[in-house]
């Protein structure tokens, strides 16, 4: 029994120190209060920073609307801030930002979600451990390096080989889609038939639709191949680059959402006789939809807020492309305008030229704020669903 004795002895030795004197207890309480207060202060500091940013940007943005009114800013495309009779129509910039963001989303979202599904449910875990960090490395490349690439390498390439590049891209993206679509469609269309007639009609349908779709693809590829791109610094260029930049965000957050859909759901799905494809499409993706949507919104925010790449490679022409969806025209975004015009804007005299940049910043801030709230909401909902 020496051990028991030992512990008992230790216990008696500790006992007195547990009975704190009045003074020590006070000191502890004050210390705890101070610590808590300090932590609270630090936390609220970062919250205050958000408020201050909002406050100061709004404070410098409002004089613009007072000086120039609201209408011209949102409805005119005449951007001549340095002219004698200055005009501050920012509509072209809103369209430019929107177009580039839309393009980036179209690049990043299908690729990102496909990659996330592949990472979480298709490839072995050991491979995922290698591939995911590599994709996330894309986020570590400084945006000026992307911009440099877009301007020096990608823009001339688009000018010289633009049509062919687009044609090849059409084939790469279109062929798997067409094959998958034709197989699924012929399968579904012949669902009611049985045995031999089914087989025959299915083959006929496949040949018919497959041939039609391939011809369509060939026509699109040919049309695009004949296209001449006059200027490589355009909306398409930055859309692709921004899409690549937004990719790690989309992949990472979507993959987390897919992972958070528990093993039980997957196994339950298999247990009911689902194939892997059915399990993914009918069970896992719907369950993770909220998180994936949040990933998409975060990708959108990454694209719309990016400055350096668009300033270097979008052409910065303050004009709405004609027609508006023409990705081969140069565009100017809100962020690039703020960055490019800041140096000239005279803050000492408080001119409209200075305040207009803050009006743009405010518009961007409000947009990303709304996006942030929406994505938070979706992430929270997914988490709750995952728990429930």
């Amino acid at each position: 029994m020496p051990t028991t004795l030992g512990t008992m002895q230790t216990a008696t030795r500790i006992m007195p120190s547990l009975l704190l004197s009045h003074r020590t207890r006070l000191r502890q309480r004050v210390g705890a209060a101070l610590g808590n207060g300090l932590l609270l202060a630090v936390t609220s500091l970062s919250m205050l920073a958000v408020f201050f940013i909002f406050f100061f940007i709004a404070r410098d943005a409002l004089p613009f609307f007072r000086l120039e009114g609201v209408r011209e800013f949102f409805t005119s495309t005449h951007w001549y801030p340095s002219a004698g009779e200055a005009e501050f129509g920012a509509l072209a910039m809103f369209v430019g930002s929107g177009l580039v963001t839309l393009g980036a989303t179209l690049v990043a979202v299908p690729l990102g979600i496909a990659a996330a599904v592949c990472l979480s449910d298709m490839i072995p875990f050991s491979m995922r451990q290698v591939i995911k960090p590599i994709i996330e490395m894309l986020a570590a490349i400084p945006s000026v390096a992307y911009g440099f690439f877009a301007l020096i390498v990608f823009a001339p390439l688009l000018q010289q080989q633009g049509g062919h590049l687009l044609a090849v891209a059409t084939w790469i993206l279109g062929l798997p889609l067409v094959v998958l679509g034709v197989i699924v469609f012929s399968d579904v269309a012949t669902d009611r038939l049985r045995d031999r007639p089914r087989l025959v009609i299915r083959v006929i349908l496949m040949a018919l639709f497959g041939g039609g779709a391939l011809a369509g693809l060939a026509w699109i590829g040919h049309t695009l191949g004949a296209l001449k791109i006059a200027s490589g610094t355009n909306a398409l260029n930055v859309s692709i680059i921004l899409g690549i930049m937004a990719l790690p965000t989309v992949v990472s957050v979507s993959e987390d959402a897919l992972q958070s859909v528990g093993r039980e759901l997957r196994e339950g799905s298999y247990a009911l006789g689902a194939t892997r494809a059915e399990m993914l499409v009918k069970t896992v993706l719907p369950a993770a939809a909220g998180g994936i949507l949040a990933a998409v919104i975060m990708g959108v925010m990454r694209a719309i807020g990016e400055t350096m790449v668009v300033w270097m490679a979008s052409g910065n022409a303050a004009r709405i492309p004609s027609p508006w969806y023409n990705m081969l025209d140069p565009v100017r975004t809100l962020t690039a305008t703020i960055a490019g015009d800041m140096g000239e804007a005279d803050h000492v005299t408080g001119s409209a030229r200075y305040h207009v940049l803050f009006a743009m910043a405010l518009a961007l801030l409000v947009f990303s704020f709304v996006c942030n709230i929406i994505s938070e909401k979706f992430i929270r909902r997914t988490r709750q669903q995952a728990k429930g």
Binding site: P81, S82, L151, I152, S231, G232, T233, W311, G315, A317
Partner: protein, 272 residues
């Protein structure tokens, strides 16, 4: 060296408040952002030779340079345009006599891709290209190729010069692409067969400068003001600076061989 200069400038700025207003060893320059690089290079060179002289430079625009000179807030007003009559009158009314010194010429070359067979354009044609009235090279006697119009951003002195000398009162078209530096214009024009742009004279390599109104853009034609897209750059002083003072030496640096070298290094053209 750079850090030393920055340190000196900082000390000079701090010392400014304490030092007597009319200290001959302290020179304050204010004004044009275009003239700024020359002024800075001059100051760097001069303070290196004369460590006892402090020169401070602000870049607040030509108009503010004139204002500061009239208010007595600076010794040298840097300007990229001649002083207006109203400014001269204002100066006279407070007993300031602005004396004009042309320190360098600023010339802008209009450049196209090297494969472009075009030899030259008139200023009116260049204006029509930049306002978007002409959109294809074939309308100017070139190949059938859409024109990609490239401009410097509205922040730059180069833009300002081009706008005042070529565009006159007309507005640059919305389709024009804007880039952030002379080097970026050269890069875009080098890689784009249909491009047209304008750069400072030092950036003509790798692209093809075209004749404007039949005159080639060379340091010679800019210095003699035959080339149309060129303008003098000024420094204004209150009265003629006395010989032997640092101010005199600084202003007259532009006539010395070292000064000319400095001006060339900053991309401008020295005057004789």
């Amino acid at each position: 060296m750079k850090r030393f200069i920055a340190g000196t400038l900082a000390v000079a700025v701090m010392g400014g408040g304490i030092a007597l207003a009319k200290d001959a060893n302290k020179i304050v320059m204010d004004g044009s952002t275009t003239v700024g690089p020359i002024a800075k290079a001059f100051a760097e060179y001069y303070m290196d030779k004369h460590p006892d002289v402090n020169i401070t430079i602000s870049e607040s625009g030509s108009g503010n340079g004139a204002k500061s000179l009239i208010n007595g807030a600076c010794d040298v007003g840097n300007m990229s345009r001649p002083m207006k009559k109203s400014e001269k009158d204002a100066a006279e009314s407070v007993g300031v006599l602005p004396i004009e010194h042309i320190i360098a010429m600023d010339g802008i070359a209009v450049v196209v891709h090297e494969s472009n067979p075009l030899q030259g354009l008139t200023t009116a044609q260049i204006r029509d290209v930049y306002t978007g009235k002409i959109t294809n090279w074939k309308d100017l006697g070139g190949p059938d190729l859409p024109i990609v119009v490239i401009s410097r951003d509205t922040n730059s002195g180069t833009y300002e010069t081009f706008e005042s000398l070529v565009m006159k009162k007309e507005k640059i078209a919305g389709k024009t692409e804007y880039v952030g530096s002379n080097g970026a214009i050269r890069q875009r024009v080098m890689s784009t067969p249909g491009a047209v742009g304008y750069v400072g004279l030092a950036f003509r390599e790798g692209v093809k400068p075209i004749k404007v109104n039949g005159i080639e853009a060379t340091p010679g034609t800019v210095a003699t003001r035959i080339y149309p897209v060129a303008r003098p750059l000024y420094m204004y002083t209150n009265g003629r600076p006395k010989k032997g003072t640092p101010l005199y030496d600084l202003i007259n640096l532009s006539g010395t061989p070292e000064g000319k070298k400095i001006i060339e290094a900053t991309g401008f053209v020295p005057v004789n």
